[in-house]
Amino acid sequence: MPDIIPENSVGIVTPETLYFDEPLELACGRILPDYQLVIETYGELNSDKSNAILICHALSGHHHAAGYHSKEDQKPGWWDNHIGPGKPFDTNRFFIVSPNNLGGCHGSTGPNTTNPETGKPWGVDFPPLRVRDWVQSQARLADRLGIDQWAAVAGGSLGGMQAMRWALEYPNRLRHAIVIASAMKLSAQNIAFNEIARDAIKSDPDFRDGHFLEDNTLPRNGLALARKIGHVTYLSDQLMGNKFGRELRSGSFQQGQDTPVEFQVESYLRHQGDAFSNSFDANTYLLMTKALDYFDLAREYGNDPVKAFNHALCNFLVVSFSTDWRFAPERSQEIVKALIDANKNVSYAAIESNLGHDAFLLPNERYEHVLYAYMNRMANETPGFNQTDIVSPSEASL
């Protein structure tokens, strides 16, 4: 982290682990007898508990959304651009709750935690999860924190899918759903990319049919390859052109030279893949991509998104980015159309950006203006919403 903590950073944060001993019945029919969720919270819950925002993470995300875990941290949390004092998700005004989802690999119960029945890591035997399972576990998290109704549930990509599912499953428990760079269901192309990524993992000999932890090995190559594939789809052609072009990292095309040539983009991808394969669990990657593939907001509503959204009571903010081809603006426009046809409150901003799908994580002046305006409006419409009635987190019955 920087030597001096910036004024708009939440600073050093410490995750907490919450245990849940009430069995959780999953969409697949299996039951998790008990589980734990690792969460981080930023800001303070006000006395009438009306200022809480749930942040839902995407495919490779986790609970560490803002601030630093220690002074040695190189990088802050994944949404630090937008969460902090004076940032759009303003921790001076809102109480931000950011869990690591079930099935994750950063401390919440998942494939890399111990299966109580066998005493071994769950591995590939961890039950398959759907977005609704996360939403259900997040509702229990809200119960635990004493939050009857979120001011907002917000997320990008797979996180946006959770926000939409919240609106349908627990319509009375959120006032706003903030759905960024998301979709009501994946396209065939999206599923195809996910399948290639899964194949990459499964074909690594060190995957050991998903039991690599028991064998004390890691399918690093497979996971790195999966990440490389995913990463390319999160960027835009334009961005990769600007950032790397055809620059060489080593070698040359000079006549008479036969040293191997490496493009900058190759080196960048290798770095991305390697870093990821050391910090992420391969089974979690399989589980998360499957949850993405299976998600279809309107499936149980006769495949009619208007019927689905008829159940929602909250207001919606939908945001897309121009060069996002993984969750293209058209997908967001489909959400908006269904919401209008269902007569729900919705605003939509189509942000110009050359950063592809990753734009939802990154700074962008217009994106921030839209978020600021929406969050201000949220704060203004909430009765009893000011800084003076804030209670300390210890009183918030964690």
Binding site: N343, S347, V370, Y374, R377
Partner: protein
């Protein structure tokens, strides 16, 4: 132009609790007024980023939309009223937008600056220059207003396209225009306001 007069007239034509679509809604002032005065369920379409942000602040449902790309996402007769204030002249194909409005709405309200106003005519006639007025401050080369029309132009388009004019109102800002706009609207009104249906 006196926006209030414009909006007051529109407000009279909107049924309470009806569903309103406002094309080029700007910062959402009209919809905000309609929400407060008539409890309408409203959506505004806008393309300008700053206006979209302002409309969000105004707690309006604002949808970023390029009207020139068509409105096929809106089903037939899905709104009670489709409104477009002071934006017909910036459309690439105003007649097609009008058709879309009539397809989507049971009725439509359109307001536009009247280019037949004597001040505009005088500018062109006496000075031989494209009019630059208090209301229309752009130079010919940088104006977003690419399809000006007069009251008579608009009404002849309605006749050609079998669009029913249910009401018309004219707004003039200055004296003597105010007093005599009713006699000769095409010469004296600054703004024309029409209630249309199929």
């Amino acid at each position: 132009m006196n926006m209030r007069t414009d909006f007051d007239i529109i407000q009279q034509w909107i049924a309470p609790k009806s569903r309103v679509l406002d094309l080029a809604c700007g910062d959402g002032t009209l919809l905000k007024n309609l929400k407060e005065a008539k409890q309408v369920e409203g959506y505004g379409l806008e393309i300008d980023p700053e206006k979209i942000t302002a409309a969000i602040t105004n707690t309006i449902n604002v949808i970023e939309t390029n009207l020139d790309a068509g409105l096929s996402q809106f089903p037939d007769n899905s709104f009670d009223t489709v409104v477009m204030t002071q934006a017909l002249q910036v459309m690439r194909y105003p007649h097609l937008v009008l058709e879309e409005m009539l397809r989507i709405g049971e009725k439509c309200i359109v307001t536009f600056p009247n280019f037949g106003n004597w001040r505009a005519r005088t500018s062109l006639f006496i000075h031989g220059r494209m009019p630059v007025t208090k209301q229309l401050t752009y130079q010919w080369y940088d104006t977003p207003n690419i399809h000006f029309c007069t009251v008579r132009d608009f009404e002849s388009l309605c006749t050609e396209r079998n669009i029913l004019i249910k009401h018309r109102e004219f707004v003039a800002e200055r004296i003597p225009d105010k007093q005599i706009k009713g006699i000769w609207p095409n010469l004296f009104s600054d703004t024309a306001i029409y209630l249309l249906s199929k």
